[in-house]
Each structure stands twice: as C-alpha cells, then as structure tokens.
C-alpha cells in the first residue's frame, strides 16, 4: 500500500515536471522550504541570542517554556501574531504597510543562492554574490519607507541614520567581497566554495575578512552599530510606530539578515560547506552559527558608537583600507599568473 502511494506521488511529480519544467519546480519547492526554514531559524536565533545574552549577563535567559526555554520564542511569536496591528492616524498608509513586507522579501531571495552543501543549493547562478548584495540593498529602502511613512520624528531620524549607514558600509562590504571574487575568479557562490579547496580565503584575505565582518555587523544594524534603532536615543528608531506582526516582520528580517551575512561570510572566507567527517550542510551551519555567536558576543559587550564616529570609521578607515586591499590583491594575482 505504501508503494502505491509513492507510485502515485511519482506520477504526480512527473506530471508537474512535465508541465512546469524541473528548474521552476525545484525553485518553488525550494522557496517554500526556505520560507519555513527562515521562520524556524529566526526563532531559534532569537532564542539563542537571549540565551547568549543571559549567560553573558550572569543570568540564565529563558527557561520556563519547553526544555531550556526553547519554545519561548514560539510563544512570543504567537503573541506578536495575536496583537492588534495599530496604524496611527497620520501615517502614510500604503508605505507604512508595504515597508515590513518589503523588508522581508529580499531576505528570502538571498536564500536561493546560498550553498548549504555541495548539492544543497536551490539555484547556483553565476552572479549569486551580486544577487545577494543587490537584494540586500532593498532592505534600506524599506527602512527608509517605514521611517518616513511613520510620521514620527524618532522614526525619521532612525531612517535617515539607517540610509547613511547602509550606504557607507555597503562599499567596504562589496570591496572586501570583491577581493575574494578576484581570487576565485567567479561570482557564483558554489564557485567560490570550490575555489577554497585546501586553504580558506580568510588566510589569504584576513583584512578583507575583518572588514567584511565589521561591515556586515553595521549592515544588519547590530550593536555596536545599531544606530538606526538606538533605543536609548531614538526609542526604537525606524520601527517606533510598528506593532504586532508588522514589527515581527522587521524582527524576523533582522535575524534572518544576520544569518545571511554570516552565511555569505562563511562562503567567502571560511570555506563554505567544506570540512572533514561531517557532511557539508552540517559544516556550513556550524560555521554560520559560530559567526553569529561572535556577532552576538560583540553586541552584548560593546557600547554603541555615535553616528558621526560611525560614518568617520567607514569613510576614513574602512573604505580606504578595503580599496588598498583590493588593489593589492589584484596586483598579486596579476604577478602570480
């Protein structure tokens, strides 16, 4: 009887493949899996962050709901879903509603090209890295939209800060990624991992790696670069007026973004899914979570930079260093070949 069902499924699958084409079908299924994965992962990350923060702060973090409090974030998520969506009267309605949706969409797209394992990638396209960065740029647009549409001065200040910060930090981010691209000679994420056969790029490109991590922390608005939502200054920054699941989407996007930048860092500098004994996806996840842990560790240790100091840091130090690093890389590659 079991085989009967399987047979039926096989028939349906064949039909679907014939109708849509294999590629499109894998894409759709992959996106569905990603959608679920993003939620679960974000919930896990929130739980992890609270646990890490707790232990750093001489507390134990959540412990009541489920073993080690692991269900806490699910309960919180249910609470967020159940909350009323408050739309303040003077907001610009369309932009206000669109913003949390728009902040979440590009996050999903990035997962299409992330190589979780040698074969576990939804679609390995030859400009994968560019795709991720291009879609990451949309993030800031939606923050600006949300901050502007909120008709709230704190939100507006947060949005302005966010735009300036993201513009400034995307440059060193891209430049440091470019030096890796120069070395591997490809923009495909799988290609970059293939190129790290033997030695990880972090050993060839320590400067770029460091710049990438700093830039990525700023890009995801994490402390010490959490200027756009600096809660002691701007209450909650750009999402001051958001409540319920609209806020929840911003929240999900933040944690998922964290995962993405850590995943890109893993791919670019830490050999992606490469590693002994364990299968690829495991190594990939282990590396990503270690990087995320480092980012959390930094967040709960350091105070926040001031806005102008942040900009100075980007424009006066990071961008020149990244440029020099790129030029040096290009030169060395030219000489070696």
């Amino acid at each position: 009887m079991n085989t009967g069902i399987l047979l039926d499924l096989r028939v349906i699958w064949d039909g679907l493949v014939r109708f849509f084409g294999l590629d499109a079908l894998i894409l759709v299924i992959g996106l569905l899996v990603v959608l679920i994965w993003v939620q679960v992962n974000a919930l896990f990350l929130v739980w992890l962050e609270r646990k890490v923060a707790g232990h750093i702060q001489l507390r134990i973090g959540p412990k009541e709901v489920g073993p080690f409090g692991i269900l806490q974030t699910i309960v919180d998520g249910i609470k967020l879903v159940a909350k009323e969506l408050i739309t303040p009267q003077p907001v610009s309605w369309l932009l206000f509603v669109l913003s949390p949706i728009l902040v979440f969409t590009p996050v999903l797209v990035a997962f299409v090209v992330l190589p979780f394992g040698p074969h576990l990638v939804i679609r390995d396209i030859n400009v994968g890295l560019m795709l991720i960065f291009a879609f990451a740029g949309i993030n800031v647009l939606s923050i600006l939209m949300g901050g502007w549409a909120s008709n709230n001065k704190y939100a507006l200040l947060g949005a302005i800060r966010s735009v300036a910060q993201n513009v400034a930090y995307e440059i060193p981010l891209l430049l440091s990624a470019m030096s890796v691209v120069l070395m591997s000679g490809t923009l495909s994420m799988q290609g970059i991992v293939q190129a790290q056969e033997g030695v990880w790029f972090i050993f060839y490109q320590p400067v770029a790696g460091l710049l990438y991590l700093i830039g990525a922390t700023a890009e995801t608005n994490r402390a010490p670069f959490d200027i756009p939502e600096a809660e002691s200054e701007l209450v909650a920054g750009f999402h001051t007026e958001y409540s319920g699941m609209r806020f929840g989407l911003f929240f999900l996007a933040e944690y998922t973004n964290m995962f993405i930048v850590a995943a890109v860092a893993t791919t670019l500098f830490f050999g992606g899914w490469r590693g002994p004994f364990l299968p690829g996806p495991w190594w990939f996840l282990i590396k990503v979570y270690i990087l995320i842990f480092v980012v959390m560790w930094v967040r709960w240790t350091l105070p926040r930079l001031r806005f102008d100091q942040l900009m100075n840091f980007a424009w006066k130090y990071m961008i020149p260093i990244a440029l020099l690093n790129l030029l040096a890389t290009a030169l060395v590659i030219k000489l070696v070949r």
Partner: protein
C-alpha cells in the same frame, strides 16, 4: 564651498516625558537641525508630589518617611540628612554606635546609587551588559541593608536620636563578603568599560563643563568634582563620623562625561574604604538615645543643614516657630541645579551626545520635582 541653498526649518523634538533614557519623567524640548541641537529646554515637574508642602503640614517624625521618597536611589542618605538636621536643631546627640551605623548604611547606599547610575549610564550608551552586572552588585547591598532596615528602596531606618535597629551578624558577614567582591568587580569594570575605545570616544571631550560654569550653575557633587573643584561636604562641613574617617576626594580636571564617570567610579572605592573603617571601629553601646519625645519641638529659629548626597549638595532648610510642625520646609536637592545646566551645554551637540551628557549628570527626577 558648499552653500546652503535650501531654506530649511529646524524642528522640535520632545525627548520625554516617556523616553527610555530620561530615567523617569524628564521632558527635554530640543530644537534640532538634523541631529544637531540648537536649543534645549528641560521641563520638569511631572512627578511633583508637594513634599515641601507636606513637610509644613506634618510633624517632624511624620515627615521622616517622605525623605527617602524624594531621592529613591539615595533614600538612606536623605533619611540620614533629615535626622541630622532635626537632631542638630533640637540638640539631640545620637549615640556613638548609631552614628557609625548610619555612616556605614549611608555609604552603602551611596555605592548602590552609584552602581545603578553606572549601569544605567552604560545602557544609555548602548551597552546593556554592565547594567546587569551593576544590578547584581547592587542586589547584594539591598539584601544587606534589607537585613537591618527592613526595606530595599525607601528606607526609614534613621530615627531622631539613633537608628531603629542594631546591626546583626548577617549584616556584618554580608558587608565583609561584599567589600572584596565589589573591589574585584570594580577592576572588572575598568577592563570592560573604562578602557573601552568606543566608550572613551563617546565620553571624552563631550559635555565639557568648566569650573566657572559649574559654580555659576551651582553644580555640586561628582559633577563639580569632575571639573577639578575638590569640594565635598563630608570634608568641608563634616557631620556624623566623617571627621574620623580616612578617605580621599577624587577629582578630575576635564569636566567632561568621562571625568564625571571616573569620579563616581573612584568614589565607590572611597566609600568602600569608609565602610571598612567604620565597621572596624564600630563601638559598643546603645543605638538609640533614650527619652527622645515623639513630638519634637525645635526652638524657634531657622536651621540649615548641608549633606553630601550621592548626587551632591543636599540642603535642608526649615523654620520653626517652636511648635511641632515646621513653618517652612525647604529642600535644596542637588539634581535640581545639576540638571539646569543642560540648557547651556547641550546646544551644538548631537542627539546621541544628549543622552551621554544627560546620563553623566546623574539626575533623579523625583528628587528634582519633589
């Protein structure tokens, strides 16, 4: 040169009364050009509870519990100050042991106040973790004080002519364990915070107050000492057992946020020294003078008393007509003056600096509003 071609209006931002880092219900009306502050008007009075009026309608003893409600972080210090002021007016002398116990408690209270400030200030600057470290230490003090005072925040422990209850062994053990613990912690704070580059960038050279400005605005306490004026009422007009204590007055010279921070951190160490000495020299004897009447009637006249609260010069002024209820009761609270300087030092800084400066001044809003 780039010229401003657009005519742009500045805008007003209401920082508070509900805001995460105004520590209560302070309302700053800021006029901003982008993020730069053009003008700042602090608006206070949201938690005015008419303490002075109550003081004029209650007997001296009935007003005692009010004192710790004014400054809820330095409640025991306010208690202590009020008792000393009234005792002085009535010519009551507290027994030696009680005076030592009061000093120990007041200094512990000062440490707990500074610890809370330390945590809250770092949180204002975006570092959340030191806040919980500080609270962990503060919790120890609250437990120790709770042991003998029976309360954790709003104390009424000091009484006219002594204290309500003698020390017990738990208190001694608690303090003896606490002193080395906090010393170790203060070292940790130095490595975690004081040497942190981001912290230094956020506080050095920010919110500079010159000694002249400090005098003009009547700043007192750590804010004044950070400007290089070594003025501490515990030394200048010693009360209780402070003349017998060995301690230094930490001063800095820059008058910026970092110096205010540094002075408070150094003060905690000095307070620990005082507690240590006082506990070591604690004499035996009663803790309360016998025969203090319930209804005190200070001789007619006016009385002023100065006290060094954790935030600065606390002045108590009351006028007695010889009756049970004072004619006039005035509290000069240090935060009132300390806060008013904001309108001078804030213009020209950024919003982020506002928080850094406001936090570094260490205001307790109910104390301002009274």
């Amino acid at each position: 040169m780039l010229r401003k071609t657009l005519t742009e209006d500045s805008f007003y931002l209401n920082l508070g009364p509900q805001h995460p880092s105004t520590h209560g219900v302070l309302h700053l009306l800021l006029k901003l050009d982008g993020e730069r502050i053009l003008e700042c008007k602090p608006l206070v009075g949201y938690s005015h509870r008419a303490h002075e009026h109550m003081g004029q309608n209650r007997t001296y003893l009935q007003f005692l519990p009010n004192t710790s409600r004014m400054d809820y972080l330095g409640g025991l210090c306010y208690n202590h100050a009020y008792c000393l002021a009234v005792e002085k007016a009535c010519g009551i002398q507290a027994p030696e042991r009680a005076r030592y116990i009061r000093t120990i408690c007041a200094e512990l209270n000062r440490i707990s106040s500074h610890l809370l400030w330390f945590g809250a200030y770092l949180m204002d600057l975006g570092a959340f973790t030191p806040f919980l470290y500080a609270f962990d230490d503060r919790e120890d003090i609250l437990a120790i004080l709770g042991e003998i005072t029976g309360s954790r925040l709003t104390y009424s422990y000091c009484r006219f002519g002594g204290v309500s209850r003698d020390l017990n062994q738990n208190f001694r053990d608690g303090v003896k364990a606490f002193i080395p613990k906090l010393r170790k912690r203060l070292k940790d704070y130095r490595t975690l915070v004081t040497k942190n580059v981001i912290f230094l960038n956020r506080t050095k050279g920010i919110g500079v107050v010159s000694p002249e400005q400090a005098r003009d605005w009547a700043l007192t306490g750590p804010n004044l000492r950070a400007c290089g004026v070594a003025y501490d009422i515990r030394r200048a007009e010693p009360y209780s057992v402070y003349p017998e204590m060995e301690f230094e007055i930490p001063t800095a010279t820059g008058g910026d946020c970092y110096d205010r921070y540094w002075v408070r951190m150094a003060e905690m160490e000095q307070s620990l020294r005082i507690v240590e000495q006082a506990l070591g020299r604690l004499p035996d004897g009663p803790v309360k003078t016998a025969g203090v009447p319930q209804w005190l009637e200070p001789p007619a006249g006016d009385y002023h008393f100065s006290y060094e609260s954790p935030r600065g010069h606390l002045g108590i002024y009351f006028v007695s007509d010889g009756g049970r209820v004072p004619l006039r009761m005035k509290w000069r609270t240090p935060s009132f003056n300390n806060l008013s300087i904001l309108s001078e030092i804030l213009p020209g800084t950024l919003v982020a600096d506002t928080i850094a400066i406001l936090g570094s001044i260490d205001v307790v809003i109910p104390e301002i509003d009274r």
